[in-house]
């Protein structure tokens, strides 16, 4: 059965045969962050894929992963393209290096998970929060429920972590 949901008014759908995304988002719906771990080489991978990008292994299991990391890069949207986001500009999308498996299998690899900056309760971040975040900022994952069997993982500032000064685009 197709899983459907909505996020900020956007329609989301995962058809029955998309086994990988069905599993990923069903774990998200229980606020449990899991990634595929290859049954052959045991490396984790993101996004969900049908085979292992490191060894072509076809078997995998869904392994719990800590939703914590640091911002590797970001973009700050002032002119939204999608109507759903127009009310929330400026908004940030963050590319976050998970602490788990950073620098493996090579120094250039990391599990890099894209999501927005949101408040601790999952609302799009207001401008004063947007200004506090840049490359290096420590974040933790929160989930925003989007329907039966689907929730959207998002990033919020990790208040328990020591925060390095963020690197921000020089022109504010």
């Amino acid at each position: 059965m197709t899983v459907t949901g909505t996020y900020l008014g956007m329609n989301l759908a995962i058809p029955e045969n998309d086994e990988q995304n069905l599993a990923y988002f069903q774990y998200c719906a229980t606020h449990d962050f899991r990634l595929q771990r290859c049954g052959n080489c045991h490396l984790l991978r993101y996004p969900p894929t049908t085979g292992c990008p490191w060894c072509m292994g076809m078997e995998s299991e869904w392994h719990p992963v800590e939703g914590k990391g640091a911002v590797h890069s970001y973009g700050e949207v002032h002119h939204a393209i999608q109507p759903a986001w127009k009310a929330h500009t400026p908004y940030l999308f963050l590319l976050v290096d998970l602490d788990t498996q950073k620098g493996a299998p090579t120094e250039h690899d990391a599990l890099r998970v894209l999501a927005n900056l949101v408040t601790a309760d999952g609302e799009p971040a207001p401008p004063e929060l947007v200004r506090q975040v840049g490359i290096g900022t420590r974040v933790r994952m929160v989930f925003v429920d989007a329907g039966e069997g689907i929730a959207i993982p998002q990033w919020t500032m990790d208040q328990d972590a020591e925060q390095p000064p963020p690197w921000r685009y020089p022109q504010e």
Partner: protein, 417 residues
Amino acid sequence: MAEAKPVDGTTPQYLRDKYAIIGVGETPFMRGSGKTTRALGTWAIRNAIADAGVEPGEIDGMLSYSIGDSTATPFIAGDLGIRLNFYMDCFGGGSSTEALLGLAIGAMEAGMCQMVCIYRAMNGYSGRRIGATGRTPSTISGDGLHMAPYGFFSAGQRFAFSFMRHMYDYGTTPEQVAMVKVIHSEHASNNPKALYPRRVTVDDVLSSRMIVKPLHLLDCCLETDNGTAIIVTNAQRAYDYRHTPARVLGVVGRCNWPRMDMHYQHGPISSWAARYASKILWPNAGLGPEEIDVTGAYDAFTFTTLLGLEDFGFCEKGAGGEYVSSGVMRLGGARPNNTSGGHLCEGYTHGMNLVIENVRQLRGEIDDSCPIGANGNPEHSYDYRAGGCRQVKDVAVTANIGWAGPITCSAAVLRKG
């Protein structure tokens, strides 16, 4: 008719020098063409046929590329009364032109056809908008679930991570990057075809409204309606036609970064697929960046020109900000880039107009505002002030660098026949 020159057969495995671009043509660059892509395609091809001086019946191969926003070859060839021995319509935007140049050579080398026309026809402003306005999917599925819900959708949004990280890794400044637009606008001011011929300053770029950091409005290319076409044949035949051919020294096509599914899983993300493509292009062409007179580095955004030139070795990795702001790539500089004004100022065609410009540079027949002499060709003044000349002196070799996001790169080296 130009004098025939012998084919360099020293490296036949790469087909170096064995094929040439003999004709180029385009429609005007418009915002609101009022025409179908079918009409734009036939118009551009007719212009390329006239430019080459071929009979329409001599074209027996045709290739096109689009992102679902064009008209396929069977319709366009039919409208021109051309019967084809080979055709193929490929999916792709940026970096397709150079890749299809290689595929055209392959088709001819395989004996499938003798002369290939490659075209791109698009209503990038009035049809499927290149900036993605109005293209929000009604339902988000598949890989899109990991991107589109986050307001991560348009080209500028999808490339922002790479651009921002380049500034972080190398200290590249907004002022340096803005110089790409400034220099291309200078070039456009000498191009009667350019959609935006007005010269702009660094301050104009940095004070234009922010679209997605680090991209201001003037860091982004122009949404344009247009058709463009080039005609390719083998070097023996190439001298039977009107112009000095632009011989193809080497190509690389649609060369990829690892992990195309969200490429940023693999770093360093301040680099891109050109890191791999450059290792194919230069050996194929038998020369290196230091021997290139004019570049055509894809400028969908100011940053893409910087990344293109940097990862092809025109400067040290990380020194792109210095390179693009130094004046090297200005008309009158050591190695001008996108002398037409490029995608930022002439018009956006997913790369074809950048190749057309370099073919004209190699011929020495740039269509600027210089007076036409007795032989029918412009008499170039080499005075690059606004409204003047944009022909570069003594162009022997050019390079085009195509970008289709950080994941995909194509490129071509052409020489004066």
